[in-house]
């Protein structure tokens, strides 16, 4: 099993979600986050004075998949979240020891 964590541009969420569903991914968690990467912050003007937006809003996805699905899912995210502009985000893949479906008590890959 693998845990895929992806940081993407917020407006790409719908496309990424559709891409994952179309390859058979059965679940994911979505959180609104903010942070900085190579994109850095932005300078905006408010009431005539400038200010730095140090942390840019992003969406964080967490997807639990079995080993065969992992590379397909990563490809799907990469393709659907891509714009070519700075700030497209990152995908991280982690090995997972175990998983439990709380309702039934199923363990391991059955819990996905």
């Amino acid at each position: 099993m693998k845990l895929i964590i992806a940081f993407i541009k917020p407006f790409k969420l719908e496309q990424v979600g559709d891409a994952l569903k179309s390859i058979g991914v059965t679940g994911m968690s979505v959180s609104d986050i903010s942070g900085f990467g190579r994109q850095g912050g932005q300078t905006e003007v408010y009431r005539g004075a400038e200010y730095e937006v140090d942390f840019v809003p992003k969406v964080r996805l967490e997807i639990l998949v079995d080993d065969e699905m992992a590379s397909v899912a990563v490809d799907a995210i990469e393709k659907s979240a891509h714009t070519g502009e700075i700030g497209d985000g990152k995908i991280i893949v982690l090995a997972v020891y175990d998983a439990v479906r709380i309702r039934t008590g199923e363990r391991g890959a059955d819990a996905i």
Binding site: E44, V45, Y46, R47, G48, A49, E50, Y51, E52
Partner: protein, 480 residues
């Protein structure tokens, strides 16, 4: 049969029209019975006063929107209390100072202690209670302007003390000298300030200036290089909703200042409407050109600037002049906001610019554009552009300069006295953490109870997906 019915209807309509045509000239000439006029006057001024009190909601929303969410309960509390404490202070002390017939120091002050004084004072055609109600709404307006400029860093108890004194002493002395019939009304060419660009708005604006200077800027407002840094507010919808509520309230503020239900009310309302629109559009266009994007809160400031500008000259000027005066107000407010940033006076909501600077412009504009007698001027064509010469300009200049000196001195002394005794500013730790919890005990936007107070219940009857909530005891959910 159908046709006959239609004919009958047309006949009836024509007859009704004929009656109207014949009756209307007579009706226009006929004066209302004095009793009816008395009821209309008092009812209208009561409604106008209610509209002015509604402006408190507008101020509260504008100020809340332009500041950060960690201080939102504090700013709401300040607006609640400068209205409540202000009305009491005005009733007990302020109203007597402003309008009592017991003159002190040759008429420079009045004195009439207690609410009995309110009940004894009369004004033309209005019940004493109507007059007091309307004046109290204005006093609350003058007081509340200051809270925005001093937002996010003032101790609540200090602000409470300030609120009492501005409506008990400072604003009433300004009233005494002006609407109370004092020395500025007795000049050879009397002052004119129809609904209070200077008397109400600049009093709040200049007191706000002193408060912001004596407090100093918010932590983080100016970078180490001394350059101003914006601290964006937390709710633009609040700002715009608040500005629109103020706009509506102003239709009590200006037309109500006629103090009667007569034929001048609607022209005043129309000039107020057009000046506000011109202020908003001008401020947006100027700001758009200057800074690249049209800032929503600056456009809202522009709307208010148009309103503040037309408040003084609304009775004296023509309709086209109202548009010009409002537009210039919108122009001034954009540069004024930037200017106060440059000289390091931190005014999170632009109150000093909107009410102080633009209020002064509105008061001076009378000297240029006055053509009608607004019951203060005592003559027509008083404006420079109408051949009135510089006489009114001198009076208006004396008025705004004396007012500026008095209010800045009195408010400055008040804030310095508060600073030296109970302190004016919260600690840096409290400022960073936010005033809501430190000053008032709970945040403005509470935690969602389904996250913080759900008991571990367990028991029977909880269906899948259902919530079982148990209210925890006060201590349980509190953070360490």
């Amino acid at each position: 049969m159908k046709r006959a019915k239609r004919k009958l209807l047309i006949g009836a309509a024509l007859a009704a029209l004929l009656v109207l045509v014949m009756a209307s000239p007579a009706m226009a000439q006929e004066e209302l019975a004095p009793a009816s006029q008395f009821v209309l006057d008092n009812l209208w001024i009561f409604i106008a006063g209610v509209l002015v009190f509604f402006m408190q909601a507008g101020f509260a929303l504008v100020e809340a929107g332009l500041t950060r969410s960690k201080n939102v309960a504090n700013i709401m509390m300040k607006n609640l209390m400068d209205m409540s404490a202000g009305v009491l202070a005005f009733a007990i002390v302020g109203f007597g100072i402003a309008f009592s017939s017991n003159e002190l120091l040759g008429g420079w002050f009045g004195w009439d202690f207690g609410i009995a004084g309110v009940e004894d004072t009369t004004a033309d055609g209005l019940l004493p209670s109507t007059f007091f109600f309307f004046q109290a709404a204005f006093a609350a307006t003058a007081a509340t302007i200051v809270s925005g400029a001093m937002a996010e860093r003032t101790k609540f108890r200090s602000y409470f003390v300030y609120s009492f004194f501005i409506t008990a002493l400072i604003y009433p002395v300004v009233l005494r000298w002006t609407w109370g019939g004092g020395w500025l009304a007795q000049l050879e060419y009397p002052f004119s300030d129809f609904a209070g660009s200077t008397i109400v708005h600049a009093t709040g604006g200049w007191a706000a200036l002193m408060g912001a200077i004596i407090l100093g800027p918010r932590i983080g407002k100016f970078g180490k290089d001394g350059k101003p840094r914006a601290i964006p507010g937390h709710s633009i919808p609040f700002v715009v909703l608040g500005a629109m509520i103020l706009f509506i309230g102003w239709f009590g503020f200006n037309p109500g200042s006629e103090l009667a239900a007569d034929e001048f009310v609607m022209p005043i309302a129309l000039k107020t409407l057009l000046a506000a629109a011109a202020g908003a559009v001008t401020a947006m266009l100027v700001n758009w050109t200057k800074d690249g994007k049209p800032d929503v809160s600056i456009a809202a400031n522009g709307l208010l600037a148009g309103l503040v500008a037309i408040t003084a000259p609304v009775g004296a000027v023509e309709t086209w002049a109202a548009v010009v005066i409002g537009a210039v107000g919108g122009l001034i407010v954009v540069f004024s906001v930037t200017m106060f940033d440059r000289i390091k006076v931190d005014d999170p909501v632009g109150a000093i610019s909107v009410h102080g600077v633009v209020g002064t412009w509105g008061t001076l504009s009378i000297a240029l554009f006055a053509v009608y007698d607004d019951a203060f001027l005592g003559r027509e064509n008083a404006g420079l552009f109408y051949g009135g010469g510089p006489d009114q300009l001198w009076t208006q200049l004396i008025f705004v300069v004396v007012h500026f000196v008095f209010v800045t001195a009195a408010a400055g002394l008040l804030f310095l006295a508060i600073k030296a005794t109970i302190g004016l500013r919260v600690s840096p730790e409290e400022e960073l953490a936010g005033l809501d919890v430190e000053e008032h005990g709970s945040p403005g936007y509470g935690h969602d109870p389904s996250h913080t107070s759900v008991g571990v219940g367990g028991g029977s009857g909880s269906s899948p997906g259902g919530h079982k909530e148990t209210v925890s005891s006060a201590g349980e959910g509190a953070p360490e």
